[in-house]
């Protein structure tokens, strides 16, 4: 379970201070898929980066399974599996070696890494390329490997930044199936997307972010009721106040 309270983060740029995240609060519960939806540049990636301890918030707090990120970032990192926006692999290592490297950095035993890899290869359908070097992998193969290495330590909480970005239809479907599996296992799944259909297809709970703020938070039905719109798409446009950037 991930609790986010009043997160704020500003960057200094040439044009002055940019408030990337401006008071974001939400809760991502276990056994649910929570979607962070918002246009490009809304602050989703920065928010996630603060959750997985890469960026320190200016103010506000995050706790993962009751552990404060600010207090014990190392322990938080072993409780979460992260698919960041940047998902580069080591191209001279095989997919299996890429996964094992992260397993060892998580402090896992070789036996556990092996059995866990076998499980993920099965779930993500990676049999074809698991022992090939990552050089020349397709976008889908890269994403699957990146997800597998993020989950090798069997984390309770899974954070994914735009997981279906650049994937073809088949791989996207497979990915959705996999995220549902994670939910069925009782995990807390949090992912960000700027694609409305993606969020609509998967999420139990939707947190809409625009200009660094949470502008709506609820189940798809609640959103429709709140806005008085029949379709989710119209509902999103209503809460964000613009159509810009929502439909990729």
């Amino acid at each position: 379970m991930i609790e986010v309270r009043e997160l704020r983060k500003s960057y200094r740029s040439r044009r002055g201070e940019v408030r990337a995240v401006d008071g974001v609060s939400f809760l991502a519960a276990d056994g649910l898929i929570t979607g962070l939806l918002g246009p490009n540049g809304a602050g989703k990636t920065t928010t996630l980066r603060m959750l997985y301890t890469l960026v320190r918030p200016d103010s506000g707090s995050v706790s993962v399974d009751g552990i404060e990120v600010a207090r014990d970032p190392g322990r938080v990192r072993s409780q979460i599996g992260v698919l960041p926006d940047a998902r580069g692999l080591y191209k001279r290592l095989t997919a299996r070696e890429n996964i094992a490297y992260f397993g060892r950095l998580q402090g896992l035993e070789p036996d556990f890494i092996e059995s866990q890899t076998a499980r993920l290869v099965e779930a993500l359908e990676m049999q074809d390329f698991i022992d090939r070097r990552a050089e020349g992998f397709s976008q889908g193969q890269r994403t699957k490997t990146a997800i597998a290495r993020a989950l090798v330590h069997d984390p309770q909480n899974v954070l994914l930044d735009e997981p279906t970005n650049g994937l073809d239809v088949m791989t996207t479907r497979a990915m959705r199936g996999f995220l549902r599996q994670l939910r069925a296992q009782g995990r807390c799944v949090l992912f960000s997307s700027h694609v409305m259909q993606e969020v609509a297809a998967l999420c139990d709970r939707i947190v809409v972010i625009a200009q660094g703020r949470v502008v709506a938070d609820g189940t798809p039905d609640q959103l429709r009721t709140q806005t008085g719109m029949d379709s989710l798409e119209d509902a999103f446009v209503r809460v964000i106040g613009t159509e810009e950037g929502l439909l990729a």
Partner: protein, 392 residues
């Protein structure tokens, strides 16, 4: 296995799968460096020998004033040729290394028993090109001078020894080990350079490259501490460099076995014990290089920017070598504490087969490792910056 050693093992495995990196470190360097040195000293030694033994063309102006001297010179492996119109210009333009000018009063003075003037025209700003030739001609003239002088004394019934109060002999204590002229100056620099920047590819690839290929952000989401990650990278860089250096040192033995160095009375045999010592001397340099390169690569925004700092780093180990070339000094203890300068001195002494005291080792290694620790800490700090992984 701790995070540090996990990173260490992964970076080495990654590096050894990079064919280009492996070929440069374990084939090109080990072949190029010893061949370069061996070739240079062989060519240098042969040139030197040639200059002393081969037939030398000597332009003589005013040869008609001193036919005896000219004949005598001609019988000493010199070929006398006609002088150019402008003597000074010919030397300055390097058309001739040295010209002998015999004064017009030579014959008159000679007959009068006064010192007869002859002049050597040469360019002292080109000692490498013409120094040996000038010395050779000068020695011949001095020989003639002495010979005629002795004859004159004998003709006057005086024993020639009267005019030679000194018997100047010389004893050269150089051993074949200590006598390898040119490469003696260059070898320490090459070893230090290899040690210092030999791991450049790996360091840049592991830090700036990792960021550019977008694998740094995922890496930093693991519980591994950043200081452990960067330490693993620094150690992997140093280990790779030292392995490359070891192969290069071993290659020295192979390459020099082919060289006819004994004929030149030069030994470049490096004993296994000396090899070990060289290895120990360069080790802190490799660690320093790895830490500096990693810090730079962490600081630089891209591969290309990191490589831009390279010329600077190549220059650094050169400074003491240049310093020692223009002003060769005896080792002072404080010098051993100066990075590169100390290593340079120690390498020279190892190659010359001189013993090194324990306290000297201690000063050198202590000072170098302290510097390594400092740069290491800087690199670790740079690695903790928030901007490091946050590209967009």
């Amino acid at each position: 296995m701790s995070a540090l050693w996990t990173v260490f093992a992964k970076e080495l495995r990654d590096a050894f799968r990079d064919l280009r990196m492996v070929v440069v470190a374990f084939v090109i360097m080990p072949l190029a460096v010893p061949s370069l040195l061996a070739g240079m000293s062989a060519i240098g030694a042969r040139k030197q020998a040639e200059k002393f033994e081969s037939l030398l063309e000597l332009p003589v102006s005013g040869a008609e004033h001193a036919p005896n001297l000219v004949t005598w010179l001609g019988s000493h492996n010199l070929r006398i040729v006609d002088p150019p119109a402008d003597l000074d210009a010919a030397v300055r333009d390097q058309r001739h290394e040295v010209i002998l000018a015999i004064s017009a009063d030579y014959a008159v003075d000679w007959r009068a028993g006064r010192p007869a003037r002859v002049e050597l025209i040469f360019d002292s700003s080109r000692p490498l090109q013409s120094g040996a030739t000038v010395a050779r001609v000068r020695a011949l003239l001095e020989g003639y001078d002495r010979e005629v002088g002795m004859l004159r004394l004998v003709a006057r019934g005086i024993h020639p020894a009267v005019a030679r109060p000194l018997e100047l002999g010389s004893r050269d204590v150089a051993t074949p080990e200590s006598r390898f002229d040119f490469s003696q100056q260059l070898l320490p620099y090459l070893l230090l350079l290899l040690g210092f920047v030999g791991g450049m590819q790996l360091a840049i690839d592991a830090t700036a490259g990792e960021r550019e290929r977008q694998s740094l952000e995922p890496l930093l989401t693991t519980p591994a501490r950043r200081s452990a990650i960067i330490s693993g990278k620094i150690l992997a860089t140093a280990a790779f460099t030292m392995l490359s250096l070891l192969v290069t040192l071993l290659a020295f033995r192979v390459v020099f076995a082919w060289m006819p160095l004994e004929r030149l009375d030069i030994s470049m045999e490096v004993a296994p014990a000396a090899l070990m010592q060289l290895f120990v001397v360069v080790l802190p340099v490799a660690l320093l290089g790895a830490a500096v390169l990693t810090a730079l690569a962490a600081f630089a925004r891209s591969h290309r920017e990191a490589q831009g700092y390279l010329p600077l780093l190549v220059f650094l180990p050169m400074i003491p070598t240049l310093f020692l070339m223009v002003s060769p000094v005896k080792t002072q203890p404080w010098m051993l504490a100066v990075p590169f300068l100390g290593q340079n001195q120690l390498i020279l002494r190892i190659l010359r087969g001189e013993p090194i005291a324990a306290v000297e080792w201690l000063i050198n290694l202590g000072a170098s490792l302290a510097l390594v620790a400092l740069v290491w800490a800087v690199a670790a700090r740079l690695y903790h910056r928030e901007q490091l992984a946050v590209s967009s």
